[in-house]
C-alpha cells in the first residue's frame, strides 16, 4: 500500500502539433475549391437586386463584366458610375471600345455574354445607354446579374 506518487506532480506531455498542418491544409483545399478568384477590385458599390428566376452563370471566362454603382471613393462624386475592369469609365461611350478590345481568339463579339452588375438603386438611363451601345456593336447577349432568391 501507499505506492502512489503523491508528492511529485507529473509534467503534462507536450501537445503534438504534428497534425496541425493537415487541418490547415484541409481548410485551404476547402477554400480553393469552394471559392472563385475575384475578377476585379471594386471601385463602385454594387448591391445586386434579387430575382427568383436567376440562373447561375456558366463558363465565366467567356463573360465580360460591367459594373455600375455608386463610387466608393468620395472624390468621385455620388452619381452612379460605370466600372470597366479595374477603372471607372468617364461615361458609357467607353463601353463599346472596351468591349471590342476584350475579344477572344476565334470568337466574335456576338458570342461573348456581357454581364451587367448594377446597383439596384441606379436609374435606368445609364443601363439603357450601355445596352444601346452594346447593341450597336452586336454584343446582344446580356446577363442581368441578380442574387438568386
Amino acid at each position: 500500500m501507499g505506492k502512489f506518487n503523491k508528492g511529485k506532480t507529473r509534467a503534462l506531455p507536450a501537445l503534438s502539433t504534428a497534425s496541425l498542418p493537415d487541418i490547415i491544409f484541409m481548410l485551404l483545399f476547402f477554400f480553393m475549391v469552394a471559392t472563385t478568384m475575384k475578377e476585379v477590385d471594386m471601385q463602385v458599390e454594387v448591391k445586386k437586386p434579387g430575382a427568383s428566376e436567376a440562373v447561375a452563370l456558366e463558363n465565366k471566362d467567356m463573360v465580360d463584366f460591367i459594373y455600375v454603382g455608386f463610387p466608393t471613393d468620395a472624390d468621385e462624386g455620388t452619381q452612379p458610375r460605370i466600372q470597366l475592369d479595374d477603372q471607372l469609365a468617364i461615361d458609357y461611350t467607353q463601353v463599346a471600345p472596351w468591349k471590342l478590345s476584350k475579344a477572344r481568339e476565334g470568337k466574335t463579339v456576338f458570342d461573348i455574354v456581357t454581364s451587367l452588375k448594377v446597383h439596384e438603386d441606379v436609374g435606368m438611363r445609364v443601363v439603357s445607354n450601355i445596352k444601346e451601345t452594346l447593341r450597336e456593336i452586336d454584343a446582344v447577349k446580356i446577363n442581368y446579374s441578380a442574387d438568386k432568391r
Partner: protein
C-alpha cells in the same frame, strides 16, 4: 565510419506555410456565385427607308411602363407589382383555346403543315425575287418558320400565340434598376411556368431537368422557344 541516422525534418513550420496559403486564398477569392437573368437584345437591322412596318394591333401588345417614382402603368392602368404576374399570364393564355374570349388579348393561331408550307414558299420566293433591301428581314422570318416546321414535325399541328404578340417595356431615366429587374424576373417566371406546363402536357422530361448540353434536351428547349415565345421590346427612354 558509422552510419549516421538522418535527422527528422522539423515539420513545425509546415503549419505556418499552410496558414500563409490559406490566408492568401481567403483574401483573393470570393464565395459569391454569379447568377442572373439572360436576355438577348434585338439585333440591329437596317430597315429600308420607305419601309412601312405591318400594322400591330393594340391587343397584341402588352405595354408595361415604370415611371421615375417606380410606379407601374400596365395597359394604361396603375398596377401593383404583385398583380403583374397574373396579368402577363393572362396576356399569354386568355385566348389559348383559339376562341375570342378576351378581345383585348392576343389571338392564338393554329399552325399546321399547309400554313407552314405556304409561308416558307412565300418567303423563299420573296428572298429570290423580292426587293433586295428586304432580303435580310425575310431571311429572319424564314428562320422563324423553319423552326416552326421542326416543332410541327415533332408534335403535329399545334396552337401558338399570335406572332405579333409582344411585351413592351417603357422606362424613365430614374426608374430604378431594382424595379426593372423585378419586372424582367416576372416575365421570365411566367414564361418558365408556361414552359413547365408545356413539358408536362406533351409528356416530355421536366423543364427544370432539361440539360442544354444534351442534344436531345437542347432540341426540346429550342422547340419550347417556339411554343412559348418570349418577345420583349424596350422603348427608348424619353424622359
Amino acid at each position: 565510419m558509422a552510419k549516421r541516422k538522418l535527422d527528422e525534418i522539423n515539420a513545425g513550420s509546415m503549419a505556418d506555410i499552410a496558414f500563409l496559403l490559406l490566408i492568401f486564398f481567403l483574401v483573393t477569392t470570393t464565395m459569391e456565385v454569379d447568377a442572373g437573368i439572360s436576355r438577348n437584345l434585338p439585333l440591329k437591322r437596317e430597315l429600308p427607308p420607305n419601309y412601312i412596318p405591318p400594322p400591330v394591333h393594340d391587343r397584341d401588345v402588352l405595354i408595361i411602363m415604370a415611371n421615375s417614382q417606380d410606379q407601374l402603368l400596365v395597359e394604361g392602368e396603375f398596377m401593383d407589382i404583385e398583380d403583374l404576374e397574373q396579368k402577363v399570364r393572362d396576356f399569354y393564355l386568355a385566348n389559348q383555346d383559339g376562341r375570342d374570349n378576351d378581345i383585348k388579348m392576343p389571338m392564338w393561331t393554329r399552325i399546321d403543315g399547309s400554313i407552314i408550307a405556304t409561308e416558307i414558299a412565300k418567303l423563299k420566293d420573296a428572298i429570290e425575287n423580292g426587293p433586295a433591301d428586304l432580303v435580310q428581314m425575310n431571311k429572319d422570318d424564314l428562320a422563324k418558320w423553319e423552326k416552326r416546321k421542326i416543332v410541327f414535325e415533332e408534335v403535329g399541328p399545334y396552337s401558338e400565340i399570335s406572332n405579333s404578340a409582344l411585351i413592351q417595356l417603357k422606362n424613365q431615366s430614374n426608374t430604378s434598376y431594382g424595379l426593372y429587374i423585378e419586372i424582367q424576373n416576372i416575365l421570365k417566371k411566367v414564361v418558365n411556368d408556361l414552359k413547365r406546363e408545356e413539358c408536362n402536357r406533351r409528356g416530355w422530361k421536366n423543364f427544370d431537368d432539361l440539360d442544354p448540353e444534351d442534344d436531345d434536351d437542347a432540341a426540346k428547349l429550342e422547340m419550347l422557344q417556339v411554343l412559348v415565345p418570349e418577345r420583349i421590346i424596350e422603348a427608348k427612354i424619353e424622359i
